[in-house]
């Protein structure tokens, strides 16, 4: 071991920053935006028109391209963070509240899927769990009369419990029969959708009063609606707070609690967990129940955050987005929070982007590229020629120190 082959301290430090996760994530987002920009430019009619006479007047193409990009991202900013064109405070601030509102269910469902990943289970069933939770919530919120406050709490609790039970069913089937959770969750998504539709169609079940043959429920009773956070000018409701509470609980559960510790143990090494006295089958059931419970918070958001009747597609694409959110957030509480906010911002920004002529597909593609880059550190490192990760510095330093001591002896 040559001492002089050691890089100097400052350059090591610089390297560690440059190779660090936060900086790379930042670059990834930038890269995603760049590729997204290309997509916007090449889907822009003005640009394509200008391209056809590129040689005649190249500035047109450049100008059109630049306009497409700047318009697109400014629209995203206006739609998701702050609308600087607005003529009143409410309109200016609405975008950020919309971002938070959309982020709520994404974060919650993301936590649920993330929990599954930590236990080694792939929960593709968030969508089914949302539907089932919403089914239960809607029963309480439209078919029961309870005092203000109590009603909301009961509806939310029932939704979370129902989603948890639906999740636990997956864990139970896996523990009992070995059925693979991927198959079971995919199939249960369809089953939940069918069930919800059936309930929303029968007037003796959940169909809206004077509803026709279209499956739809009543709006949740006012006593059961999640209250808005900043008055009626903003639609942001307490569901986001629930999601935040979910993040804290998730963090506590996975990092501090003994059951979360055992979840992770099973996720990393089933055999060692079994040898250490952990009942693996039961852990699967608990974990899927917990996973479903977090997804249940998303169900609460969707079912009780609504001011109007619900339709069977109330889950939107949350179930699948949750998978990406969980993976993007490395299945950690804070990570899922950030990823959920990013996705929420995209959802909130999409209408503003559509207004300037960007179809929702373009937004989806930009989003996809960002995720891809965030998930591909080696690619980003290769593109920016970053140094390799300095992950094991602690152990390496220790080794170097030890070696020096021993060799010196």
């Amino acid at each position: 071991m040559n001492a002089d082959s050691q890089p100097t301290t400052w350059s090591t430090a610089a390297k560690e920053i440059v190779s660090g996760g936060a900086f790379r994530a930042f670059l990834s987002v930038i890269l995603g935006f760049i590729v997204g920009a290309l997509f916007m430019v090449f889907s822009n009619e003005a640009f394509l028109n200008a391209l056809s006479y590129l040689t005649a007047r190249p500035t047109d193409a450049l100008g059109a391209g630049w306009t497409a990009i700047s318009d697109g991202y400014l629209a995203l900013f206006r739609g998701s963070i702050y609308n600087y064109q607005a003529d009143n405070f409410v309109a200016a601030m609405r975008p950020i509240t919309e971002t938070l509102r959309f982020a709520g269910p994404l974060i919650a469902a993301g936590l649920g899927v993330a929990l599954g990943f930590r236990v080694g289970l792939f929960n593709i069933g968030a969508s089914g769990q949302i539907l089932f939770g919403a089914l239960a919530a809607t029963w309480v919120s439209t078919r029961m009369t309870l005092p203000w406050g109590v009603h909301l709490v009961v509806a939310a609790a029932v939704a979370i419990a129902a989603a948890a039970a639906f999740g636990a069913l997956v864990g139970f089937l896996k523990a009992r029969t070995g059925a693979h959770e991927v198959i079971v969750t995919i199939m249960l998504n369809y089953v939940a959708a069918g069930l919800l539709t059936f309930f929303f169609r029968q007037d003796y079940l959940l169909r809206e009063a004077d509803g026709g043959g279209t499956p739809k429920s009543d709006a949740p009773a006012e006593t059961a609606q999640l209250p808005t956070l900043f008055g009626d000018s903003f639609t942001l409701h307490a569901g986001f707070l629930l999601a935040l509470v979910g993040v804290v609980i998730y963090w506590w559960l996975m990092e501090r609690s003994t059951i979360g510790y055992r979840f992770r143990m099973v996720g990393h090494n089933i055999d060692a967990a079994r040898t250490a006295g952990v009942n693996v089958s039961r852990t699967f059931v608990y974990a899927m129940a917990a996973s479903g419970a977090f997804v249940g918070i998303a169900a609460v958001n969707q079912a009780l955050g609504a001011r109007a009747g619900l339709t069977p597609d109330l889950d939107g694409s949350i179930g699948f987005d949750a998978i990406t959110v969980a993976l993007l957030g490395s299945s950690t509480g804070p990570g899922v929070l950030l990823a959920g906010l990013l996705f929420g911002a995209f959802k909130a920004g999409a209408p503003a982007m559509q207004v300037i002529g960007l179809s929702p597909e373009v937004t989806g593609v930009v989003q996809g590229f960002i995720v891809l880059f965030i998930a591909a550190p080696p690619l980003v490192r290769a593109i920016f020629r970053l140094p390799p990760p300095q992950k094991s510095t602690v152990i390496a330093d220790w080794w170097v120190g030890l070696r020096k001591k021993k060799v010196a002896k």
Binding site: S43, F122, I124, L173, T177, G178, A179, H180, V182, I183, V184, I186, M187, L188, Y190, V191, G194, L195, T197, F198, R201, F320, I323, T324, L327, L328, S359, E361, V362, G364, V365, Q367, G368, F369, V371, L372, A375, A376, P377, P378, L379, A382
Partner: protein
Amino acid sequence: MSTASNDSFARVDARVSYKTPIVMAAFALVVGIAFGLFGKPEAVTFQWSNPEDFIHIPDFVVASNLVGMVVGVILLIIAALAFVRARAARTTPLWLNLIFGLFAVVALLGWLAAGNNVPFAFILGNAVVLAVPIALGAMGGIMSERVGVVNIAIEGQLLTGAFLAAVVGSLTDNLYFGLIAAMVGAALLSMVLASFAIVYLVDQIIVGVVLNVLILGITNFLYSQWLSADGQNSNFPGTFDIIPIPGLSSIPILGPALFESRITTYLTYLIIPALWFILFKTKLGLRARAVGEHPLAADTVGINVARTRFWWVTLGGVVAGLGGAALTIGSVGAFGRGMSGGQGFIALAVVILGRWHPFAAAAAALLFGFSIILRVWANQVSPGIPTDFITMVPYVVTLIAVVGFVGRVRAPAADGQPYIKG
């Protein structure tokens, strides 16, 4: 060296498991009682073949409840056979399970169709056609997962294949070009998956999920910008001709259902056994499976893990792309937005349900195709079950299959694991 092989231990009578006979007996009783004793007395007509078929088997008309009772008794006999075997500590052979399943299906059809027809060839033929895209998607998935790359992007591959087949088929006026474009396009998509997963070590599930989103976005975009306005030229490919295979197509019952099909279906017939053969009988397959089970071990015997993975995933894309083509030019012709409609995820389930084995996965895909046509047909002949429940049939059937009969499965050990060389 001395040996300690397993046979040296004292042997005991194996633990006797009565699970299978008990499940079978329960089913038999349900059939006998619900379909038989409490069944409907109306006549049911089993149409084994179409009148125009080469060999026409006359229709078989029988009372619905009689079918239930007779089949119930047959099923009980099979259950008893299984019981006898179980007592001798032997498992029920697969063929007996299959026969049991077939009889149970006949009873179900007979019960549903009381006062109606059971168009056998029609049901089977449609089940096959509906199963083809799922089966091909699943074969692509198997090829990818057998070498250790989880493929969540089957949905995207089907969609890519469906899109390119329709568009290229229309533009060139040649469906074979469409077919090739579908395979090439999905293969390119697979290459993206492979490079990100193998070279850039991105979490394979993330790449898959993202690719699905991207493909959905891009095909939707192109559809809106282009196909919808110009459908006549760009999205009206038609479908491959139906080619009866001489000889085979005159086999009673099966012939018209299986051998009066399109080239996409015939290719599926070829690909499934070919994949099985390559995986389990050739050097290529041995190496592929080694890479999927223990890449480091494969590396130590000189197998290039990255290259093996890359090509298998890519070829898997070719097969899945063919499945996509089967959605359009092998079935309905024109492309529609998001027309894969979740079949890629069904294929993913089928991969697992079929234990990463081509034949088993094909059977699982067929089960799924059968469930779809069953729900369509049952809805017609046997009104009374709410639409929303009828819609659930394929999924519930799959759930029952996985919970009741398949149980624990074992993925290739390195499935989803990146291989990082030292």
